[in-house]
């Protein structure tokens, strides 16, 4: 009963090209910026879009095979699709929205089934309300009830939380999480927010311009982003430069805006060539970076070797308290951000325009081939 998809489809400015497989009970979260082609994947699975080439298979049933001319219309695929804005039929009550997908039995029986489904989501009392009378969270639950009441063979969720405001999102996330655990069918969820993907997905796949650039457990993807794009999406800071080999197996990266950093990662093998300069992206997290007065750690590189540290001269461009931490915007030729504690700021007497040294460990520095594939 697992869902398998393999599709190629030309979009406006790039070609979608994905292959994925989702096991029953698994929730694959597709995360990426808007316009990356995530929703197109859902539409292909549901049969709302016929890709230029590809196959879709759910368990033993072939839903689509462009080569063999098979293309089941959406009404024969039995996917539970939750649309981004829920797409509740505006002229039908909540109960009739849910009953719309039911077949067989009398009208009264279908209504009973629909109301039971609404009750499972805690909104049985709203059965006769029209969608426009419902709040965002209530609409979401009607949409979930409508999608699962037909016992779908796959669940497809398109940004199911985006239309909600921050206050109802927590509860809605919980309702969605329970739903995914209860229904033992393959599920695909689409979101532009990595935190959302990590919360709801058992697996996360990062989509960029129509391709899956990394796939794995949420924590793993966040900890070891395979490309600068993924690092950016998960919240790291990114500098660009050119890498070459240094002593002790370290990589030495000359940054584009000036300065040099070391990493315990090896130099990426660019196209098979060995040690020539390779254009790379260097990433680390803002909380790895510490700030020091200029002169406390002179020069660019200190203690190369054992506990190799990177140090860059920087100008402070912004100081922003975020809760108990302070985010300090830095200009090192390229923009950089550090997260330090309030007392640290006070001790340094830091102000916008000050010169400081930003330091972090070589071991907390990832080097990524700017072409895109991981080297870690």
């Amino acid at each position: 009963m697992s869902l398998e998809l393999e599709a190629r489809h030309a979009l406006r400015s790039f070609t979608l090209d994905v292959a994925l497989s989702v096991a029953p009970g698994e929730c694959l979260a597709l995360a990426g910026p808007s316009g990356a082609g995530k929703s197109t994947v859902l539409r292909i699975v549901a049969g709302l879009l016929r890709p230029d080439a590809g196959r879709v298979r759910c368990g033993d049933d072939l839903w689509l095979d462009r080569e063999r001319g098979v293309a089941l219309p959406p009404e024969q695929r039995a996917c539970g699709y939750v649309f981004q804005h829920y797409a509740l039929f505006p002229h039908l009550s909540a109960a009739r929205n849910v009953a719309y997908g039911l077949r067989g039995g009398s009208r009264a029986q279908r209504r009973t089934t629909a109301i039971a489904a609404l009750e499972r989501f805690g909104i049985g009392q709203l059965a006769d309300a029209r969608p426009r009378a419902l709040s965002g969270g209530e609409r979401q639950r009607v949409a979930l009830a409508r999608a699962v009441v037909r016992r779908p063979r796959a669940l497809l969720l398109d940004e199911p939380l985006t239309a909600l405001d921050a206050t109802t999102r927590g509860q809605a996330t919980r309702a969605l999480g329970e739903l995914l655990r209860e229904h033992e069918v393959p599920a695909i969820l689409v979101t532009h927010d990595f935190v959302e993907a990590a919360t709801l997905g058992t697996t996360v796949a990062i989509v960029d311009r129509g391709r899956i650039v990394q796939r794995g457990a949420p924590a793993e993807v966040a900890a070891r982003p395979a490309t600068p794009f993924v690092a950016d999406l998960t919240g790291a800071v990114v500098l660009t430069g050119v890498a070459s080999s240094a002593d002790h197996g370290l990589a030495k990266v000359a940054l584009d805006g000036g300065g040099t950093v070391l990493s315990t990662d090896p130099v990426p093998a660019s196209g098979g060539a060995a040690t020539g300069p390779v254009p790379v992206a260097v990433t680390t997290h803002p909380w790895e970076i510490t700030l020091h007065p200029v002169g406390e750690r002179p020069g660019d590189l200190v203690d190369v070797g054992g506990s190799a540290r990177n140090a860059l001269a920087a100008t402070v461009t912004a100081i922003t308290p975020i809760g108990n931490r302070v985010r300090v915007g830095l200009d090192t030729g390229q923009p950089l951000a550090a997260e330090v504690t309030g007392p640290a700021i006070e001790r340094l007497g830091l102000q916008v325009g000050d010169r400081v040294t930003a330091a972090w460990k070589a071991s907390a520095t990832r080097v990524l081939d700017r072409g895109g594939s991981s080297t870690a």
Binding site: E75, G80, H85, A87, F89, R146
Partner: protein, 285 residues
């Protein structure tokens, strides 16, 4: 500075007053020029009744035909992309801007005894010129584009997600059309119906030329008004008053329906900006 602002505002007010006065006076004059008694007398005239009856019958038949054929045609134009779709849309809209006298000539050239397809029709025993059927043909020709245009827009304004949701919930295209598309587009369809009905009811030039003005057979209300405006001005006023009332009813229907929510706005997205006013949606969108 302040004087200039006042002068500008005054100029605006004067312009609007001139517009409103000029456009309102003729309508007011119809009701003021004769007493209510005269109006009722005018309507008691048997030829006036014949005209009213004929107008209602022909208008109803014409709008019935328009809705039956036009609704599926509009659905196809709204939802399928095909080569030449823009051309088809333009062709269907052309009668909207065609002068009625030209429409009359065109109908004669097409369906008249010596017309393009008129000969073939005659061989089948169908000859619409100067008959009640001819009135219906003329009304359908001038009124259909109003309904088609409006229905196409109403179908196009439906949030595609609703149609997609219906499909993923197991409904085929026919079922989706009947259970989702038509109910959701209902406001726009009724607006189009009202506009087509109003245009057919007031049709004058094309009917006059294609079907003539024979009492009881082809003389609709506008033709009856024309026939008697020189000889029996009060009778013409009475019939005009009836048409003004019906036109106002059409206008209000369109405005009330048009000010309701359009198809796409309830789905949590940003409300369409611009005039909520209905005639806009009405006449052409």
């Amino acid at each position: 500075m302040t004087a200039r602002r006042v002068a500008f505002s005054a100029a605006l007010v004067v312009a609007l007053t001139v517009c409103v006065a000029f456009l309102t006076v003729p309508v007011v004059a119809i009701f003021v020029s004769s007493s209510p008694g005269d109006l009722l007398d005018g309507l008691r005239d048997p030829s006036a009744r014949d005209a009213l009856r004929l107008s209602l019958i022909c208008t109803s038949i014409a709008t019935g035909i328009i809705v039956l054929v036009g609704t599926p045609a509009a659905w196809l134009l709204a939802t399928r992309r095909f080569r030449g779709r823009a051309l088809v849309t333009t062709l269907v809209e052309l009668p909207l801007v065609l002068p009625p006298a030209v429409a009359g000539i065109g109908l004669l050239a097409a369906f008249g005894p010596k017309g393009l397809v008129g000969g073939a029709l005659g061989d089948l025993g169908l000859q619409p010129v100067l008959t009640t059927a001819g009135v219906v043909v003329a009304l359908v020709f001038v009124a259909a584009p109003f309904y088609l245009r409006q229905a196409q827009s109403a179908f196009e304004a439906i949030d595609r997600d609703w149609l997609d949701a219906s499909r993923t919930l197991g409904a085929g295209e026919l079922r989706t059309w009947l259970l989702i598309a038509i109910p959701v587009a209902r406001g726009g369809l009724v607006t189009g119906l009202a506009l087509a009905w109003g245009r057919a009811l007031g049709e004058f030039g094309a009917t006059l030329m294609f079907a003539g003005s024979f009492r009881g057979v082809t003389q609709t209300v506008p033709l009856a008004i024309y026939e008697r405006f020189a000889s029996d001005f009060d009778g013409a006023l009475a019939l005009s008053a009836v048409l003004v009332a019906l036109s106002a009813a059409v206008l209000l229907t369109v405005k009330l329906l048009g000010s309701g929510s359009p198809g796409g706005s309830e789905n949590g997205r940003e409300q369409r900006r611009g005039p909520g006013n209905g005639l806009g949606a009405g006449v052409g969108r």
